[in-house]
Symmetry: C2
Subunit: 593 residues, 2 copies
């Protein structure tokens, strides 16, 4: 019989501690600490409270928590000395069935890991659907994490401990993340489509209008129909559009969605999570035959990444009536024009048909987008959801500093005009200056001393600059100070810099009212609020030009890595995203007259 | 009738000022300041004293000095409003015969230069032998210097003012640098030999055992015979060896010399100055039929740069009995083995013949080497000669820092593991740490983020490290602190570094007694002493292994640039080098019993 949150909230301290026993391995102090914060408004609230107790504990206590865990396929497993929870987890991951070679390899990895870090390797081996990781995946992850620095691995170990606790709590409280599992299944099914050359290697690559792309669109359209959308179609640029009607004919619509194309060898959540989350909501509405005072239009945008053609935001831009006619003649790497690709996909490939996709903003309430964070923040602070305050504005430059190449042996330190050290000084300034804002970022991603020699002082140094901030004024101040510092460094060092702008994008601050709607929905789930800018660009930037918008971020696993097959989130977090979206719909319905 | 130094030293202040009138254009304060330091021991002493008055003046006074000069081929020349000195100089450079196009180009350059720097472009247009620079060379130099930062160009303008003053003083005092001119002529003649592919472009490249190299050897041998050397020959590795006998049969020898091979597109003074300086001395001895209590052996080393084969210091190493037998089978870029090249050059190409080149150190007093500085120091402090205290020891590493590549937009500044910023921090540390020693140097010459993207935080950064110091203990302390700092940076930033040593050379401190012989010889010329380490390696490093050694540096023009066609020195400075060498010989003769 499952425990209940109500029972936990009203039990005596001893009873309550009993309800949480074994959630964190051999570490009752965590339950004790968290229980002081009763009552819990949700299981998410309880999970976060327990994670914060660990985060706020002394490093020694954190290490003790890690050390309280058994090794994977270690001596405790062999000796059958594991806790009941660990036994089930290690068995379900197939670790009890290791081959002698696998077992020997795991023992070597355990020994190496312990020697380096001083605590055992911890991995949440049970997957979100109970499918779990394969032994091969476990060993690969083990090897990769052995290269981490100690502090990174301490954090990684603790995050896995929290994930294990989450799975145990779900079992204990009978909390199956059914909506999250639905989204999980859609993601898995859609990830089966991948471009040739990648599919064979198990890599996910879906670029604009390829066969895989068209198959993905067809699959999304079918899933939409199965959900109970009233109208489903694929438009002239390949967007999949589903509409769920309002209570009344003339009601306005909420626009939402994200993209289904991917970068090369990308992750399966980037973009797609923002399609499936509202689909799961519409499925719930349709299942209960509920109609809202507004319609819902979910768009799976066909092209956001600009990976096959240089046509970033093509799908969402088309809804603004933006489409560069020159794009039709643009060729991909194989020489196929976009016009030919559209014809091949059965699209009309005429400017008239594309222009007709323009939406009348007056017909829409606004635009919301759910997206995986693609960064480490939520992961680090143990929160499943984040409120986006703004999509950062950015500028990019290609730069070169010219100094004087001279003999590394004969030129004294105080008589050098070293182009690379000048850039080094700028790099450290950018790091400090951007950090001062808290939410600005600045990056030198490309860096090179062309034709450098080991014994020649760099006479030239080429580098790129990428500077972003949540609003244009903050971005402009950052840019002005960085460029002024570059000037000052050049003057001081007797070197010279050229700075060529290559990109400038305005920030897209979230609409205040829409951001508050997300905040209310997240708070209603008992999930503490965390507001944050989006460092990456999203389709919402395009819709921002014509209607109010606000985004919701979902935590990514593995340090938030994205544009990478390691990109991942959990069914629990997706469950909360769907619940938040349902909350937003309900709140919006209550606002309507 | 020429002025004399004695007259200058004994004249009244007003008369003395008259003797120096017009040496510095419209700026009598320089002569006034310098004359307070009478008596002058030499013209070099006077030149240095005047240059120091300028160096110690306020920046405004320095700018006024520059502004007191006419533009090259400017309005003053056209209006015939130049000083007598300037008129002669601009005429001898052919500026009065400019074509209309050249004249128009010079006016444009003058206008651009004045607009950028606020003072006129100044160039000592009279060359060391009165040959002067061509109009084309003047215009090329003008264009190149327009790119300089203001401070560099202020220094460059002042150095040219001093060179103009030097030429005017030579005229005024009837001081023709006859020995320096002799060395100049030898250098020019030898520079006529260059390898195919470079000769056609007017570039100097003489690599081991090419036709140009053999022709150069033959030319040096002939010049040695003409000087009056008693024995001249080309040895089994291509060294040209000249011996000038002592007063007695069994006397020991002074060994001296430097190399005649060059880097690709190199300068004409690197190495060769150390051959021709002692040759000019022997020529003086032979001319006056003077014999010393010791013999003089001048060796023009055949291979120091290791440009055709990886066999650096082959020529000087052979005198130590060092020759790697594997070198004979080494192929050049064209597939020719060293053995074949030696046969082609008429050399025996046997290990026996090469081993026979080994000198018995007991037969030698020591080794001295004159070399162009290949650095900016003497040029900046207005001194023609420098005493080398040590040839720096060095170590080299190839390194790589590994961090975590992640999204430049979504990764907050405080959650990054940026490999390139870690290297930037190291670069600034090296700069400060090496500068703290005063005479250590540290350089990151190669620097690269492999496969960097503008919007990706660098996950890797490759770089080279070159660290040098005048003695091994100082070098080792420098290296230890730099590597410790790299470790500390890595720990702080959660990144990881690999460090692969590729070279380690011991320092070669000058022998105290031999360094003092150079010091006495330089002081006797009335040239202030400046002691300095050699940052570059030289043949003296090899001889250091078997006998005491000490080197003398000669100032390079153009900021001391080397391994470059702009490498240059003056007949005046070479004159002083020959005189210093003669002084060393005389001093050594007086020491002998």
């Amino acid at each position: 019989m499952a425990a209940t949150l109500e029972a936990l909230n009203t039990a005596s301290p001893q009873e309550a501690e009993g309800l949480l026993e074994g959630i964190y391995e051999h570490s009752p102090w965590i339950a004790q600490g968290a229980l002081r914060q009763r009552p819990f408004r949700s299981l998410a609230h309880l999970k976060h409270a327990m994670a914060r107790v660990v985060a706020e504990a002394a490093r020694e206590a954190q290490l003790a928590l890690l050390r309280a865990h058994p090794e994977l396929a270690g001596k405790a497993m062999v000796d059958k000395a594991l806790t009941a929870e660990s036994t089930g987890e290690q068995r379900s991951a197939g670790l009890t069935d290791c081959s002698p070679e696998e077992f020997a390899q795991l023992q070597r990895l355990n020994a190496g890991y312990n020697a380096k870090f001083g605590f055992p390797f911890i991995l949440a081996v049970r997957g979100p659907r109970g499918t779990g990781l394969t032994r091969r995946q476990i060993i690969d992850t083990f090897e990769r994490r052995l290269d981490n620095p100690v502090d990174v691995e301490l954090a990684e170990g603790l995050r896995n401990v929290h994930r294990i606790a989450e799975l145990r709590l779900n079992d204990r409280f009978g909390a199956e993340p059914a909506l999250g599992n639905q989204v999980w299944d859609w993601q898995e099914a859609l990830a089966a489509f991948s471009d040739p050359g990648f599919r064979e290697k198990g890599q996910l690559t879906v670029t604009y209008l390829t066969e895989a792309h068209r198959a993905a669109a067809a699959r999304i359209a079918q899933d939409m129909r199965d959900c109970g959308f009233d109208e489903v179609g694929i438009d002239a640029v390949g967007n999949v559009v589903g509409r769920y009607r309002a209570r009344t004919e003339d009601a306005r619509l909420l626009l939402t969605g994200s993209h289904y194309d991917t970068v090369r060898n990308g992750g399966r959540y980037d973009g797609r999570l923002g399609i499936f989350t509202p689909m799961a909501c519409v499925r719930e509405l349709a299942r209960t035959q509920r109609r809202l005072p507004f319609g819902i239009e979910v768009v799976a945008f066909s092209e956001e990444e600009g990976q096959r053609y240089k046509a970033t935001f093509l799908g969402s831009g088309a809804l603004n009536g933006q489409f560069d006619p020159a794009w039709l003649e643009q060729k991909d790497a194989g020489g196929v024009t976009m016009r030919e690709a559209m014809h091949e996909a059965g699209l009309p490939a005429t400017l008239e048909a594309i222009a007709a996709l323009r939406r009348d903003p007056a017909r829409y309430l606004g635009f919301v987008e759910v997206h995986i964070e693609q960064g480490p923040v939520l992961n680090e602070i143990d929160l499943p959801l984040g409120i986006v305050t703004s999509i950062n504005g950015g500028v990019r430059y290609q730069c070169e500093v010219t100094g004087m190449a001279s003999h590394a042996g004969t030129t004294p330190m105080d008589r050098r005009r070293d182009a690379a050290v000048a850039v080094a000084e700028l790099a450290l300034f950018i790091e400090q200056r951007a950090a001062r804002d808290g939410d600005s970022v600045g990056t030198i991603g490309m860096l090179e001393v062309p034709g450098g020699s080991i014994n020649v002082i760099p006479g030239r140094c080429r580098f790129s600059l990428d500077l972003r901030a949540p609003n244009d004024a903050q971005r402009d101040a950052l840019v002005a100070e960085v460029l002024a510092e570059l000037d000052a460094i050049c003057a001081r060092r007797g070197v010279h810099a050229t700075v060529e702008p290559t990109m400038r994008a305005a920030a897209a601050p979230s609409d205040r009212a829409w951001q508050q709607r997300w905040e209310r929905a997240v708070q209603a789930l008992g999930v503490p609020l965390h507001r944050m800018p989006s460092g990456a660009g999203h389709d919402a930037m395009k819709l921002h030009e014509v209607m109010p918008q606000a985004m919701l971020f979902v935590r990514g696993q593995n340090g938030g890595i994205s544009h990478n097959p390691l990109e991942s989130t959990t069914a629990d977090d997706m469950q909360l995203a769907v619940q938040a979206f349902l909350g937003l719909l309900t709140g919006l319905a209550e606002e309507s007259p």
